[in-house]
Assembly symmetry: C2
Homo-oligomer: 182 residues x 2
DNA sequence: ATAGTATGTTACCGGTCGGTAACATTTAGT
DNA sequence: ACTAAATGTTACCGACCGGTAACATACTAT
């Protein structure tokens, strides 16, 4: 779905169905034979993004099996890499949240569920990594990763990415030392 | 300008000029005698928010004169308080960024300048507080404060606010100990 | 070749929205 | 009370957008 690029770059509400069809190299009519409304189309796009992220978490889990610290560090590295190739416009999901204020919008519900899952996952990882206060650390991780996107727009993505990786490394290292000292 | 509530709650593009006028207890025509376009109206709203934030920084500076650590801690506390009374919808400026993708939009330019100023200010504070790597710490602060808004939508604002305050306190404390140990 | 299905084309509908014109009404200063 | 400025009212315009109908064309399988 190449229409997603449009959504991300011009904003969901700033892109007409006609433009979406063109980006998908088809036309409006055919589009409406597959999606019953623009809202459903948006929702499907969001679902795609989320599926991709879940896929990445599976990779992360497979690559660092039984190593929650490694997963966290790799997660930050991937996010940093993702930041670097995303000049100007912020996070797709974050923007979508801002652009769909209606709490009953299906896409919004899907995103909320995903965020809850993501948060739980990070809490679980922090628990497994032996962090003293897993909820605290998990919230910290989430805050920083979320904030990196919007923050990079004024500082420069690459620097933000670097610092993100650094601080996650430090947190993991600190935790390791604290555990050793107990 | 009470119309700002509408912008924040329903999204900039989701609010018509008519609704804005009604919220301001006037009508469209009068509105257009003061603002030459909706875009300028949006920009003025954004300017108001920014002015309010700058005002708060003046307060912060006056209250903790010569105490950059106190300013940073108080900043986090105010942000936490602000989070608590902001259930559901994220940061006004962050949302505006998402809703105005056009890089030439005047409001966007204003916001970008403001973000740059804010970042510089925090770097300056971190320098004054004697942080070892002021740019690193400043970026951390910014990331967390930015991220807290979007993150609170899935965890609960009050908890996020608490943790935000805690971590800023810890960073300040760590810095104090490191300085003492040098 | 033919039938059936998927895709493309055009034109249109209803609604909303930003913005304006023309005129009526109120407010305020003297 | 009279004037001038500010505000309100109504109606409208043009543009855009989401969505549909009707029909034409291309593809595919047998």
């Amino acid at each position: 779905m190449a229409a997603g690029d449009l959504f991300h770059k011009q904003g969901i509400r700033g892109v007409g169905v006609e433009a979406i069809a063109e980006a998908a190299q088809t036309n409006k009519m055919t589009l409406y034979r597959y999606f019953e409304s623009k809202d459903e189309l948006i929702t499907e796009w969001v679902r795609g993004i989320i599926a991709h992220k879940e896929e990445e978490w599976k990779d992360l889990n497979a690559k660092h099996r039984g190593d929650p610290e490694g997963q966290l560090r790799d997660w930050s590295q991937r996010t940093a890499a993702h930041l670097r190739e995303m000049e100007e416009r912020g996070s797709a999901l974050g923007n979508a949240f801002a652009e769909l204020p209606d709490p009953n919008h299906p896409a919004r519900r899907v995103m909320k569920e995903h965020k809850l899952r993501a948060h739980k996952r990070v809490v679980r990882l922090c628990k497994a990594a032996g962090f003293q206060d897993p909820h605290f650390s998990a919230n910290l991780f989430m805050m920083m990763l979320e904030g990196a996107h919007s923050c990079g727009q004024c500082v420069g993505m690459s620097q933000i990415g670097e610092h993100l990786v650094q601080v996650v490394d430090r947190m993991v290292e600190n935790n390791r030392q604290q555990r050793a000292g107990r």
